[in-house]
């Protein structure tokens, strides 16, 4: 029965040129992205952001901004005492920073300005006066883990530590004829989806449902997170997914959502918020920079015997999907190569940088820079062919990963290496 179904499906789709369902709208300019949604009587929001990456908010004065023609309302933390923190895995991110509370990166929000026009909202932001008590801003995770570093979050700057163990690392290095040890560093990277964070919100007074048109990658998780933050049942939050406009991990996190919900409830009018590209860069997630110390053991004949790795990951001011990204990175420390003896530790560290989250590869890409560099250095030192070396160590069906998962399906690494070498003209 099932085989027949698969066969039928194969005939219908596989190997055929299938048009994307919304391609025609996209190629004619008719597709509706969030930024294209407009309602009559709509108000525009703008967010007043932190003025220092690590500081206590001591005073916020919105009186001048409030008097500006076109400004309808300015929401600060004092107006929303019951609103709770949000976050994908750990609820550590505040919606608005209140008096006496701490801003932890330049993207933290201090106030939501609601105005009749984008221009008035933008102008009002500049009229909000803020006084802060500055703390040491930590931009380096190695500084963050020092004993005398100020604490960014109450429970310490090391958010979590993960361990990895397989085989016997001592035995692995004893079997090695060559041991190569190096430190690698990767950098922050922005996903830069072409459509920035944008959204429109409406509060339906009859049903008390908040409708949000915002592109998101986790529709139901986002709905649940907004609901818990606002203290509302999930069914009171309705998210309508417009055409997304690229995401690549960046739209997994909450961005404009809660601001829109608060402003819609407050004003009972349609509200719109679109980040500038600069704001998107400052306020929303990045790819995690990794510091990777990797020690690899190999025999004279070019067989890997041991891999020991220590990773320090800068997750920025908030956790976002950091814990999952770092876990995954650690599990990929040997890449697609068989290593019998593995030991690893990864620390995920808070700093005052923009928080990091998901981006294509989810931690695996950072690690690739380290293990593939190690592979090249080893082949150079042993004077052996880098393609042959990779092939003889590569995974096949039955191989076991650093977290001891046995691979039973879909292992295409050897074919991939061979094909890549052919296309690159390696033998010539």
């Amino acid at each position: 029965m099932m085989a027949e179904g698969v066969k039928k499906m194969t005939k219908r789709y596989v190997g055929k040129n299938i048009f994307k369902v919304d391609a025609r709208e996209k190629v004619t300019g008719n597709a509706i992205y969030t930024e294209d949604i407009y309602f009559d009587n709509m108000l525009y929001l703008k967010i007043k952001r932190a003025t220092h990456p690590h500081a206590y908010l001591r005073r916020i004065d919105i009186s001048k901004a409030q008097k500006l023609p076109g400004v309808v309302k300015i929401i600060t933390a004092a107006d929303i005492p019951k609103v709770k923190n949000f976050g994908l895995i750990i609820k550590d991110q505040p919606v608005l920073i209140g008096i006496g509370q701490k801003m932890r990166y330049m993207g933290d929000a201090l106030a939501i300005v609601i105005a009749e026009s984008k221009e008035a909202a933008s102008q009002a932001i500049g009229l909000i006066e803020v006084e802060v008590e500055k703390l040491e801003a930590i931009s380096d995770p190695l500084r963050a883990i020092e004993k005398d570093a100020p604490l960014i979050h109450q429970d310490g700057n090391i958010l979590d530590t993960y361990y990895l163990k397989k085989g016997d690392i001592k035995k692995g290095f004893a079997q090695a004829d060559l041991i190569v040890e190096n430190e690698y560093r990767t950098s922050f990277l922005d996903q830069v989806p072409l459509q920035v964070e944008a959204g429109v919100g409406i509060f339906d007074q009859e049903t008390e449902i908040i409708k949000l048109w915002v592109a998101t990658q986790w529709l139901h998780d986002t709905q649940a997170d907004i609901a818990q933050s606002l203290g509302l049942p999930k069914e009171k939050i309705r998210i309508i997914q417009p055409v997304i406009g690229g995401a690549f991990g960046k739209k997994e996190d909450i961005s404009v959502h809660i601001y829109l919900a608060l402003a819609a409830m407050e004003t009972k009018r349609p509200v719109k918020l679109t980040y500038t590209r600069e704001e998107s860069m400052i306020a929303q997630s990045k790819r995690h920079p990794f510091i990777i110390r990797m020690k690899t053991g190999v025999t004279r004949k070019g067989y890997l015997t041991a891999c020991q790795v220590e990773v320090i990951v800068d997750t920025g001011a908030y956790a976002s999907s950091g814990p999952a990204v770092v876990h995954k990175g650690l599990y990929h420390c040997t890449g697609p190569y068989n290593v019998g003896n593995v030991k690893g530790v990864a620390h995920i560290v808070y700093t005052n940088n923009t928080y990091c989250g998901a981006m294509r590869g989810f931690g695996a890409t950072q690690m690739a820079f380290a293990y593939e560099s190690q592979m090249d250095i080893i082949t150079h030192r042993l004077r052996i062919d880098p393609v042959q070396f990779r092939l003889q160590n590569a995974y096949s069906i039955g191989s076991s990963t650093p977290n001891s998962q046995i691979l039973t399906l879909g292992v295409g690494v050897k074919e991939t290496i061979k094909l890549a070498a052919d296309i690159a003209g390696w033998k010539e």
């Binding site: 025609r24 190629v27 004619t28 300019g29 992205y33 930024e35 989806p193 072409l194 997304i244 500038t276």
Partner: protein
């Protein structure tokens, strides 16, 4: 003070009053509802807002609306009659040169400008013409293939 300007947009003569500091992008999107013109960066980096002004591709976020007085503008909306697509659009569909689609209108307009000035472009010409248009889904190969195929089918005539 608003300025009265007169121009041709997608074949139709229009006369409107605009603020002197309004960009062409904002006028097209906000005053003329041409939402196929996309804003990606607002700083001339990404090309998503590309339209043709007197047949030349421009970043509409970098041009003031008052500058199009007396000129002819073509946007993605004017490329087809809504039923029959331009050969370039057909080719983008056929080659699945569209992922998130946000760069697509700008890409198509930059390609259109190329075909207007060169009916038989080579692959290198296509790449050069699209150099100012960013695609973040990394679909460049299919986009270049789509433009070259449109040329082969006579789209560049």
């Amino acid at each position: 003070m608003k300025h009265k300007i007169r121009f041709t947009i997608n074949g139709e003569v229009k006369e409107i009053e605009v603020q002197p500091n309004k960009t062409l992008l904002k006028m097209l999107r906000e005053d003329l509802d041409l939402i196929g013109v996309k804003e990606g960066c607002g700083a001339g980096e990404c090309g998503a807002c590309t339209v043709l002004v007197n047949n030349k591709p421009v970043n509409s976020c970098l041009m003031l609306a008052v500058e199009v007085d007396g000129k002819e503008i073509l946007t993605i909306e004017g490329l087809s009659d809504g039923i029959n697509l331009d050969p370039l659009q057909e080719s983008f569909l056929k080659h699945n040169a569209i992922q998130c689609g946000y760069c697509t209108p700008g890409m198509v307009m930059s390609a259109k400008a190329l075909l207007n000035r060169n009916s038989h472009p080579k692959e290198e010409d296509v790449k050069e013409a699209l150099a100012g248009n960013l695609c973040r889904c990394t679909g460049y190969k299919r986009i270049v293939d789509a433009v070259l195929d449109a040329v082969k089918k006579g789209g560049g005539k």
